[in-house]
């Protein structure tokens, strides 16, 4: 009768290891006896993602990843439907393994290039380049060029926008609410933009890496981290709510500009774009508004932050465009880019939430709604300049 009360002291940690041990056993059984072997009497699924293709004079380099469920052996390489000699770092690709293939080929700038991999089983995996273009070399000069690009699309316009601070200080409460709501509208536009682009990149990433999950994980982590940060700083921001909000907005915009720089840098490197005068003008107008958004909360509180704060705000919002341009130009990878865009989208969403709560009367006052709609509309109209 005492059976119920007989208790063998099994440590809790040992109990928790039981499921782990059983899962381990399951893995062993599956590998040892292959119970689903009969279900797999179908041809192997051979998939290879072209993660990056670079063009040097007389030379094409392919960075590949096996993103299918089965191993892939690359037997031959065709360029424009002709077998071509190549060097492979590894022609036997296990699941998720990467390889680099180098082909000495007299490619011509501006012409399309069709690259086909023929696997050992005769499957053909095709990657088409719309127009071949020299891949920028990783040197000081090119880094400089990309930095200038980042400064043009990020640092300069944002810094100019910060100059609105002095006029905001003299604005009435109604107008301040209007400009805060304007900022929310602007950020909402950037959120849509970042999300759209991030999802597109997610689709381009190697299927096995699940770009969509990377995007979503990035966004959710950004949201929770910013909330935690806000919480941690709660006590210290007393009396300086405006400055605190400004930094939050600058961070959100900075992450967005990181993605923007990444996209532009990658497109430039891939020869997909040509920067035009109109384009740079468009960026200037479009991103100058981002500066206004950053200083909008400062006017309300009547704060007069030191000049160094403005420099820092401008740097936080603008400099990531340079980093992004570098990353996009030299180490672009769609999967990591999707993650980066997810982080930016999450950060922007969190900033929208925080600012919205801080607007007196919220967004549904005349000034709030007017500002919100104006922010969306202004961003849309200036975006047309870059279209």
């Amino acid at each position: 009768m005492a059976a119920d009360h007989v208790s063998v002291k099994v440590p809790n940690w040992l109990l928790s290891l039981v499921p782990v041990a059983l899962v381990g056993l399951l893995v062993v059984v599956i590998f040892a006896f292959n119970p689903i072997e009969n279900l797999r009497d179908v041809p192997a699924v051979e998939r290879v993602a072209f993660e990056r293709t670079t063009f040097e004079p007389g030379r094409i380099e392919l960075h590949l990843r096996n993103d299918g469920p089965d191993p892939v052996q690359i037997a031959q390489v065709l360029i424009n439907d002709a077998y071509w000699r190549f060097e492979a770092s590894d022609a036997d690709l296990g699941r998720l393994e990467t390889a680099t293939i180098t082909v000495a080929y007299p490619w011509e700038p501006g012409l399309p290039v069709k690259i086909s991999l023929v696997t050992s089983t005769g499957v053909v995996i095709i990657h088409e380049i719309e127009a071949a273009a020299l891949t920028p070399e990783f040197d000081v000069e090119t880094l400089g060029i990309y930095a200038v690009l980042g400064i043009y699309i990020g640092v300069v316009p944002v810094s100019i926008g910060l100059l609105w601070f002095s006029s905001l200080r003299r604005a009435s409460k109604k107008w301040l609410s209007f400009f805060l709501a304007f900022t929310v509208g602007l950020l909402a536009f950037l959120l849509v933009d970042t999300t759209g682009e991030g999802l597109e990149l997610a689709g381009e990433a190697a299927a096995a890496l699940d770009g969509l999950a990377l995007f979503a994980i990035g966004a959710l982590i950004a949201v929770i981290c910013l909330m935690r940060l806000e919480n941690a700083l709660e006590a210290r921001k007393a009396g300086r709510e405006g400055l605190f909000l400004a930094y939050l907005i600058a961070a959100g915009i900075g992450l967005h500009n990181l993605g923007e720089g990444l996209a532009v840098g990658a497109a430039l490197a891939a020869g997909e774009i040509a920067l035009g005068t109109f384009l740079v003008l468009g960026f200037a107008l479009h991103n100058t508004t981002e500066g206004l958004a950053i200083v909008a909360p400062l006017g309300r509180e009547g704060e007069r932050p030191a000049l160094s704060h403005f420099a820092l705000l401008g740097a936080i919002a603008g400099v990531p465009a340079i980093t992004g341009a570098w990353a996009g130009g030299f180490i672009f990878n769609a999967a990591w880019a999707a993650l980066a865009f997810g982080i930016a989208a999450g950060a922007i969403a969190q900033v929208i939430w925080t600012i919205s709560r801080s607007i007196r009367g919220g967004l549904v006052t005349a000034a709030g709604t007017g500002g919100f709609v104006a922010g969306l509309g202004f961003m849309y109209l200036t975006s047309l300049l870059t279209a």
Binding site: A75, A82, W84, P109, G276, T386
Partner: protein, 328 residues
């Protein structure tokens, strides 16, 4: 707004040229030079394991099968053959394996060689799961035609074809079971060469079967070749002697493309259409051939050196149908 697509259509850029002047792609080709000889970079990588395949294009070239020879009561020459249909994975380019259907484990199948008037007795044994035949491009009775209903052999079964060797010429045999395109493209074909009774002048004789392989079965070929292996005679040229008469039997069994062709470098050849004449029809260096067309050509190289021969469909050249004679 899509920051990558929008700029694609962007206006011509003054700033862009300022930014990117040093990256002008027009300078890209300055140092471009191939370090590969022969056919430049346009070549497969690696080597085909001919031993594993069980056949070598260089051996197929001059491998004429005269059969088991006997005489019947009337003194007529009888040539007996056994063809076993078997499925076999063959390496058609280095590292690239194709699920072939074969006569006697090779693609093309054995080259049958007889003299006009001989009796050919070919026993077909089917070791596969599909129906198969041997259809002859020759003059023969309907019952020996090798089509569904006349000499078709089921799995595990066999049938013996008896045909007269006529007319003399360069001919072809292939499986005629359905689906026809599939049975041919998988490798069930070969050359049938019937010599005229009076014979021909001495020559170095070769047989080349133009074929192709659609490795991913999408209706377009990934490989073009003669005697199956892409670039086989470019990787290792065919050695021939200067001053010696060369006689080549050329058979076109390319699938998916209606026309193949043959062009030889640095020389002209005498063309005997379908090999059915003792005098040449034409003197040329290029001949186009429809599916199942075949010809006999004769030529002599006077000077040593490497001479290409290949299809003049450049697309086929780049996909493997490129070869060399090494004249010594």
């Amino acid at each position: 707004m899509n920051r990558r697509s929008f700029i694609k259509t962007g206006t011509a850029g003054a700033l862009a040229s300022a930014f990117l002047a040093n990256q002008n792609p027009a300078q890209a080709q300055e140092h471009e030079h191939s370090d590969v000889t022969g056919h430049g970079g346009n070549m497969t990588m690696g080597e085909v394991d001919h031993a594993r395949n069980g056949f070598d294009p260089h051996e197929i070239l001059t491998d004429f099968d005269y059969g088991e020879v006997s005489k019947d009561a009337s003194g007529r020459t009888v040539r007996e053959y056994e063809f076993i249909v078997e499925n076999k994975e063959i390496e058609i380019a280095p590292g690239l394996f194709y699920p072939a259907w074969t006569y006697n484990g090779r693609v093309p199948g054995p080259t049958i060689r007889a003299t006009e008037g001989d009796l050919l007795r070919v026993r077909l044994v089917n070791s596969t799961d599909h129906l198969h035949t041997i259809h002859w491009h020759s003059i023969h009775p309907a019952a020996m035609d090798g089509i569904p209903g006349a000499g078709e052999v089921g799995p595990g079964e066999e049938f013996t074809y008896e045909i007269d060797a006529k007319p003399f010429g360069t001919h072809l045999y292939h499986c005629h079971s359905v689906p026809l395109k599939m049975h041919i493209q998988r490798g069930l074909y070969g050359a049938l060469i019937i010599d005229p009774k009076e014979g021909r002048p001495d020559a170095n004789e070769m047989v080349v079967v133009m074929n192709s392989f659609d490795t991913d079965f999408d209706g377009e070929n990934e490989i073009y070749a003669v005697n199956t292996v892409a670039f086989a005679y470019a990787v290792r040229p065919i050695k021939i002697n200067a001053g010696e008469l060369q006689r080549m039997h050329v058979v076109n069994i390319t699938e998916h493309d209606p026309v193949n062709s043959l062009h030889i470098h640095g020389n002209f050849f005498n063309l005997y259409r379908t090999g059915t004449s003792l005098v040449p029809h034409e003197f040329t260096d290029t001949i186009s051939m429809g599916q199942a067309e075949r010809h006999m050509i004769e030529f002599t190289y006077d000077t040593p050196g490497n001479f290409m021969f290949h299809a003049h469909q450049t697309e086929f050249v780049e996909l493997g149908w490129m070869s060399f004679f090494e004249v010594e």
